[in-house]
Every structure is written in structure tokens, then in C-alpha cells.
């Protein structure tokens, strides 16, 4: 335990056994030609059992990459991902597949997250078919009769608001609207009762009223199934609405972490501040004051100092030379900045 704490002195976690998933110095590099792009640059974060954490940031911040490495759809270059205390970042074969029962993902585009050639039943039952034994142990029922499984899938569809579920089983996705497809995707991701759901911008392609339904549903399911959520979005409003905790990312780094309320009300990182001030309210702009222009330019990784230094109104020499570490500034409020706001 002692050694682990020392590695993670910059990790926003209390170090107890409550951590469901913990990212330790996670780095992911994409290479194109000679260019090395740090999609994730030593990310340290954790999500507790039953907790929901939002990852917010603009496009290119690495937030989607973090989601993909969390469920092991992408391999990391260095660091560790501890799931219930075990490093899952280098699993292969059967042990990888058995880990995957614990995590599921809901994708952004409802139109391509379901196979158009498969019926709704086929899509939702796929995880059960691939994990028959596990499913039987989980539910304590024999999963060998098709009619039994069809009933189970129909029940699950009922739970996600596709009622009556029986009527949807044999439909192809093309008959469903975007909102309905997203519900099917939720049903599929929940059928094995995973511990963690990664939702990558699940509402950004939906209409406002449909998006509200999905958010309501997610809130309800979270209560019923008691899973943890990693909610990835560029939209701070829904992020704050869904999650207790929030992490702000910028060019592959976590620059601020804390409770959603704390961050949105008292942002400490200048970047978070600009993000929040840029958000709109019903009624108009949050502020009329002019904001600093953000220009990240061509980022090729390997930035020595702070990723935000070039756009930051408070930049000093130190910011250009030294990487600010994520540090606890207040109870449960962490920021990676040499000159945090409000102090």
C-alpha cells in the first residue's frame, strides 16, 4: 500500500478499496508519420463504486481516448489501469474477455452503434451468447431456451423504455429513431449488469427533447442498477447534471478535478474558467465580458510546460518550463496550475 500511495501522490483518490477504476500515469500516443500526438499524457484519475464522473473538454482533449482505454478498446503506451485493484491494461485473450463483462460503453452515434443487419434481439442478446456461463451464474437461471432469453431481453427493453419490449425484438434498427436506438444500446450494455458504463457523448446527436429522455433514463438506471458512470462530453451542462464528479481535460492532460458543483461554481484553472464562461444559458451568454482567445495550434506532444500556457492570460515563465501537477487545493478540488484562480 505504502508504495502505491507514493506513485499516486497526484492522483485524486483517497486510496481506499472503494476505487472501481483507477488510472495511474496513463499515456496514449498516436503516431502519424513522424508526429507523436499525446492523446493521453500521464493521466491520473479514479472512479469509485457507484460514483459518476464526467470527463469534459473540447475536441482533441483526449476525453474519448480516455473512455476507450477505460474499456480496453485501445491499448495504452504506459501507465496502469487498475480495475478493482487489478491492472487490466495488458490483459489478453480469455482474461480480457472476462474483464469486459464488467465494463460497457454507450456510443455517440446511435445510427452506427447497432448493426443494421441484426435484429434488436440479436444485438441485445450478443453479450449473453458470448458469456453464457457467466450469465447463468449471474441470474441463477438456465439460459438455454430461446423463449426464456427472448423474455429476458423484452424485460430489459421495457426497463429502458421501449414498451412493450416484445414488439421490438424482431425489428431491424432502421425502423427505430435515434432516441430509440440509444435505448437499445443501453439495454445491450446493461444485460450483463456491468460495474462501469462509459457513455461517450450519448446525447450529442439527439434532439433536445429526446436527449432529455435519455438523460432521465440514465439517471433512473443508475439508481436501479447501481453502476458507476464515466460520462464523456464537451457539454458542461449535461455533464454536471449527470455526475457527482468532474474532470476537465486539455490536450491529453487532466487540468482540474473535483465535485461537479465545486468546479462549475468556483473553477480554479483558467482554462476551465473560459470553458464555463463560454457556456450558454437559456436567456443568453453567461457573461458579456471578452474572453481570452484559445489557440492550441499544432500540438505535437512533448510540451514541457503547461498545455494551456500559450493561451493563458496569467502565463509566467514557470508555466512554459515546468509541467504543473494535479494538486489538491481544497477538500476534493484538484487543479494542475501554478496560478489557480481564486487564491
Amino acid at each position: 500500500m505504502e508504495s502505491q500511495i507514493s506513485i499516486n501522490e497526484n492522483n485524486p483518490t483517497d486510496g481506499t478499496q472503494n476505487d472501481l477504476i483507477r488510472f495511474v500515469d496513463v499515456t496514449k500516443i498516436f503516431k502519424s508519420g513522424h508526429v507523436r500526438n499525446y492523446a493521453l499524457d500521464k493521466v491520473n484519475l479514479s472512479i469509485k463504486e457507484g460514483e459518476s464522473l464526467s470527463i469534459v473538454g473540447e475536441s482533441g482533449s483526449g476525453k474519448s481516448t480516455l473512455g476507450l482505454v477505460a474499456v480496453n478498446l485501445l491499448r495504452i503506451n504506459s501507465g496502469k489501469i487498475l480495475f478493482q485493484g487489478k491492472d487490466i491494461s495488458r490483459l489478453r485473450g480469455a482474461s480480457l474477455r472476462s474483464f469486459r463483462r464488467n465494463t460497457q460503453m454507450v456510443f455517440q452515434d446511435p445510427y452506427s452503434s447497432l448493426n443494421p443487419y441484426n435484429t434488436i434481439y440479436q444485438s441485445v442478446i450478443a453479450p449473453v451468447n458470448a458469456n453464457r456461463q457467466y450469465y447463468e451464474n449471474l441470474t441463477g437461471e438456465k439460459a438455454d431456451s430461446r423463449s426464456h432469453l427472448r423474455d429476458r431481453v423484452a424485460e430489459m427493453l421495457d426497463l429502458v423504455g421501449l414498451t412493450p419490449g416484445q414488439n421490438f425484438l424482431d425489428l431491424y434498427p432502421k425502423k427505430l429513431s435515434g432516441g430509440q436506438r440509444q435505448r437499445v444500446a443501453l439495454a445491450r450494455s446493461l444485460i450483463l449488469r456491468p460495474r462501469l458504463i462509459v457513455a461517450d457523448e450519448p446525447t450529442s446527436m439527439l434532439d433536445v427533447s429526446i436527449s432529455a429522455q435519455v438523460l432521465n433514463l440514465l439517471t433512473k438506471l443508475k439508481k436501479d442498477f447501481k453502476f458507476s458512470v464515466m460520462y464523456i462530453s464537451h457539454e458542461l451542462g449535461t455533464s454536471k447534471y449527470i455526475s457527482d464528479k468532474m474532470a476537465v481535460m486539455n490536450l491529453g492532460r487532466v487540468v482540474e478535478y473535483g465535485s461537479s458543483d465545486e468546479i462549475t461554481e468556483n473553477p480554479m484553472h483558467p482554462y476551465t474558467d473560459i470553458l464555463i464562461k463560454s457556456m450558454l444559458e437559456v436567456g443568453g451568454f453567461r457573461t458579456e465580458e471578452p474572453l481570452a482567445k484559445i489557440d492550441f495550434g499544432q500540438y505535437n506532444g512533448g510540451i514541457v510546460g503547461c498545455t494551456f500556457a500559450h493561451s493563458c492570460p496569467f502565463v509566467t515563465d514557470q508555466c512554459l518550463k515546468e509541467r504543473p501537477q494535479l494538486e489538491r487545493k481544497e477538500n476534493d478540488h484538484w487543479v494542475a496550475c501554478f496560478h489557480p484562480l481564486g487564491r
Binding site: 427533447s209 432529455a212 438523460l215 451542462g237 461537479s260 464562461k277 444559458e281 437559456v282
Partner: protein
């Protein structure tokens, strides 16, 4: 009303279903756009708001058609009946009188032409005589871009830059009316704010009239003087920004407002849920199109002949019970 710039009367635009049938994307819609105002039209996908923009520009193409109605552009000295324009008249009307900013900035620029050439062909088409270079520079600067952009190809620009180029393009022939169709939807929040800010500023400095089309009420309220709510091919509520946002009268507008999540939405608050699906626009709709999904419907709604009812100063609602609902709530 002499301060109007555009009048739309009983417009109906139909999309062909390919089998002889039509979907009425716009259903007998009437609307006045005032000179110098910015009017935001808010609706969800399929509500017909983009179709209205394309109809005003006469960009509805076969087999789809504008089946009925009138669109009149009130020029300084004469009225232009847009739907009656011939080929040349239409060509000169577009961009010179009404210009448009499209939603998908990614693809609206010709990928094999340099940015400056896409300005120049527009100038040539509209017989603009002054120095092209100066003019291009002027509008690129207005849109917040440097001169370097002129020599670039579209694929060398970022999403935000492309949208700025398209703003510069839209303004470059000095139109009197600007239609902006979801101009910031694909952009990050910081850039979105910058562009909305700029558009609002431009409206004031150039005395533009703007029709702003969006699905996002918060975007609409950032730039609009008036807001119109679209549902099933009609404007169901229209009024001053603050009236529509603070005292929405149509049940749909109310639900839409209740389903928005912003930073000030408390966590765990049940969001308004809009059950069911919009009506099938290929069939005839009797009475109010929101009837089936409306929590406050009564029998009479089915025979209602769709008249905008005045519920306040400059605030009109297409709902039989609007006044009654307003009185009971506020």
C-alpha cells in the same frame, strides 16, 4: 407594416417520398421578418426549420417543390415576389439580397478551389466592380480571419475557420437579410461563443436582418430579438425573446424549455419528457398537430383551425388554450 423585410404567406413545401406521395415539411406557414431584427427559429430535426431557409432561397429542387404560398422580399424601392422570379432574377436575388450560412461548414467550400477564388466567382456573378482583394480582406477581417487564409484550400482550414470563411462569404456581397442555419452546431463551445458574439455584433454594425435557425434554445436566446418555435412544419409560438423564454404559452414550447439542460439546471431534477413521436407529415393533420403528445389537450383542439392567438404584446401562440394556460400558471 413598413418596417418588414420579408413576408411569408401560406407557404407549403413538399418533399417527395419517391412513390408519388409527399411529406408536407412546411404547412401553410406565414411569417413576417422585420428589418434590422434577428429572429431565431427553434425546432427539432424534421420540424421544417431548415426547409424554410431553403424555401426562402428557392433552393428546393425537384422532385421536391414549393407547392403553395408567397414569399415577398421588401426591397428599398420595390417588392420582390421571390417565388415568381425567373432564372436570372433569382440568381441576382440570391446572395445580393439574402445570403446564407450553412450548417455543415465542413463541406460548403469547393475542395479544389482556393478560398479567394470562391469569393471572386461570387463577385463576378453579381457584377461587383470594386477591388476584389480589398473586399476579400475586409470581410475576412470582419469574420476574424487573417489575410493568409485567402490563398489556402478548404482542407487546410479548421472547422471554426471554415465557418468564419462562410460568414465572410455570406457578408461579402452586402446582403440585407442573412439566414444562418445552425452555424455553430459542429463547433466547440469556446468557438461557438466567439462566433455568436461576432454575429450579434455584425448585426448591429451592418444593420443586418438575421434569421437564425437552431435546435438549441440557449443559442437562440443569445442572439435573437424574437424567437419562433417550430413544430411539425409550422411556427407554433412567436414573440419577443424574453416573453417566449419566460412565459412560454404553447405546451410544446414549455416542454422544450423544460428539457434543456444547462449549467444552472439542478442535478437530479426530472427533465420534461416529451413522449411519442411527431405526427406523420405525409398524412393530413386535423386540428393541432401537437394534440397527441400534449398534456393539456381537449377535444376542441382537433377542430381548431390553426390561427395564431395573441397572448401578449407581440406574442402569438397557435394553441386554443394558450391564454387559459398562461393565466393559470403565471
Amino acid at each position: 407594416m413598413s418596417d418588414n423585410i420579408l413576408l411569408i404567406r401560406n407557404l407549403e413545401t413538399d418533399y417527395s417520398l419517391g412513390n408519388g406521395g409527399y411529406v408536407k415539411a412546411i404547412r401553410s406557414l406565414s411569417l413576417d421578418v422585420r428589418r434590422g431584427e434577428s429572429l431565431a427559429l427553434v425546432g427539432e430535426s424534421g420540424s421544417g426549420k431548415s426547409t424554410l431557409a431553403l424555401s426562402i432561397m428557392r433552393l428546393i429542387e425537384k422532385p421536391n417543390k414549393i407547392a403553395e404560398g408567397e414569399i415577398i422580399f421588401l426591397d428599398k424601392d420595390r417588392d420582390i415576389s421571390v417565388l415568381k422570379l425567373g432564372e436570372i432574377g433569382l440568381r441576382l436575388f440570391r446572395w445580393k439580397k439574402v445570403a446564407m450560412i450553412f450548417q455543415s461548414a465542413m463541406n460548403i467550400l469547393n475542395p479544389v478551389m482556393r478560398v479567394e477564388n470562391q469569393f471572386i466567382d461570387t463577385f463576378e456573378a453579381h457584377n461587383i466592380q470594386d477591388d476584389y482583394n480589398q473586399r476579400i480582406n475586409k470581410y475576412l477581417t470582419i469574420a476574424g480571419l487573417g489575410k493568409k487564409v485567402r490563398r489556402l484550400y478548404p482542407h487546410e482550414l479548421s472547422g471554426g475557420m471554415k465557418q468564419r470563411v462562410s460568414i465572410a462569404l455570406a457578408l461579402s456581397c452586402e446582403p440585407e437579410l442573412l439566414i444562418a442555419d445552425e452555424p455553430t452546431t459542429a463547433l466547440d463551445v469556446v468557438v461557438q461563443r466567439e462566433i455568436l458574439f461576432e454575429l450579434r455584433q455584425l448585426k448591429n454594425s451592418l444593420n443586418l436582418s438575421i434569421i437564425f435557425i437552431t435546435h438549441d434554445l440557449s443559442v437562440a436566446s443569445a442572439v435573437a430579438d424574437r424567437i419562433g418555435i417550430f413544430y411539425a412544419g409550422r411556427i407554433v409560438e412567436i414573440g419577443k425573446k424574453n416573453d417566449v423564454i419566460n412565459r412560454p404559452a404553447h405546451p410544446y414550447a414549455k416542454l422544450l424549455l423544460g428539457s434543456i439542460v444547462t449549467l444552472s439546471t439542478p442535478r437530479g431534477k426530472e427533465l420534461s419528457s416529451l413522449e411519442g413521436t411527431p405526427p406523420d407529415l405525409s398524412k393530413e393533420i386535423k386540428g393541432c398537430s401537437f394534440y397527441e403528445r400534449c398534456p393539456s389537450h381537449v377535444k376542441q383542439c382537433l377542430t381548431y383551425d390553426l390561427q395564431p392567438l395573441k397572448v401578449g404584446e407581440d406574442h402569438y401562440v397557435e394553441c386554443l388554450r394558450a391564454q387559459e394556460l398562461l393565466d393559470s400558471e403565471y
